[in-house]
Symmetry: C3
Subunit: 141 residues, 3 copies
């Protein structure tokens, strides 16, 4: 890709967007974060990945077997059923609960100009009420 | 209010207290954090919101429709029932589990001397075993 | 102990290992983190505790009554049953879900060369698919 896939906002703060395709979906955003870290020149520090939404989250989990992602999303659906007598008229309260269960930000460590992740770890955007155009902020410290 | 609603502890660390009124309750603490950031003069960086309790947490979620808060608390009660054959004699194990599910700290981004939050996002203190006098720490970096 | 129980990796990044003994287990790692902070000489700032695994997490919770830990692990087992028709052939999808529910990192505050924790708070390594040799990273900022 000739162009950057992100926007620089100053103060080591970056933003990128993504389009989710499913109602619930895990999207691996590790390479997009790594691209930002490379661009920034930051070699050691912290990387905060933050989503400005209330029906989507961010987590770290396994990137090897795609079945893990399917199992996670299915299990979260069982833990927080989509229909459960919710009062919120928009009807997506389950998505709000799941977003808080996963968290709307993750703090990661940067080492050698790269994320310090385990062999099987990747960073996932967690869509709980798609499809939508979504935003991710990345702050480096 | 003429007086500050928080205490400065040095080293960009602040503390404030709040009184919860219900057994489980979400309290929007966004404006109290913003007041601290304004006072500090920090214009860009990180803001760690930290509760020193084990039966309360902190999360980010929707501030528009109060029904979302009701649905979240009701759903968390269904996921972690108050009575479930727990061994802990104090009888509030459900509150401990819920606190860990939400997390006892959140790391937020500061931009332009304000929290970088989405349109619908607010920061909530999550009481799971009230009513009590509670403490919140805010650390700016 | 004459020797340090951790390894220094440069850039205020530290690593230690631990051996879990049970399939699911909470291990108090507070003193090991405190030992690192003392060694580092950092008196105020942030401490990010990060596990590079996808079937283990890290949380903060009560250190007084061991029954709280038993209740937490039992309740998490009920919320995310070990057998539930998962697709992942390794058979440990429940551990992946629980790791994301707890989180794979926690950001703590350092004050007076010590973790800023409440009276009853301790930092726990959360094993969800042991027993295993595990790694914990501690990054100070």
């Amino acid at each position: 890709m000739a162009d950057k896939s992100f926007e620089y906002l100053g103060g080591n703060l970056y933003r990128f967007t993504l389009k989710t395709e499913e109602h619930t979906q895990m999207i691996d955003i590790t390479s997009r974060i790594e691209e930002i870290i490379k661009f920034s020149g930051v070699s050691a520090g912290l990387c905060v990945v933050d989503v400005p939404h209330t029906t989507a989250g961010v987590t770290v989990n396994e990137n090897a077997d795609p079945d893990v992602q399917k199992d996670m999303m299915k299990e979260l659906d069982q833990i927080v059923p989509w229909e459960n007598g919710y009062a919120h008229v928009e009807g997506n309260s389950a998505a709000h609960v799941k977003a808080s269960l996963m968290g709307m930000s993750q703090t990661l460590v940067i080492r050698n100009q790269s994320l310090l992740l385990g062999t099987w770890q990747a960073v996932y955007f967690m869509e709980f009420d798609g499809s939508r155009e979504r935003t991710v902020y990345v702050k480096l410290v």
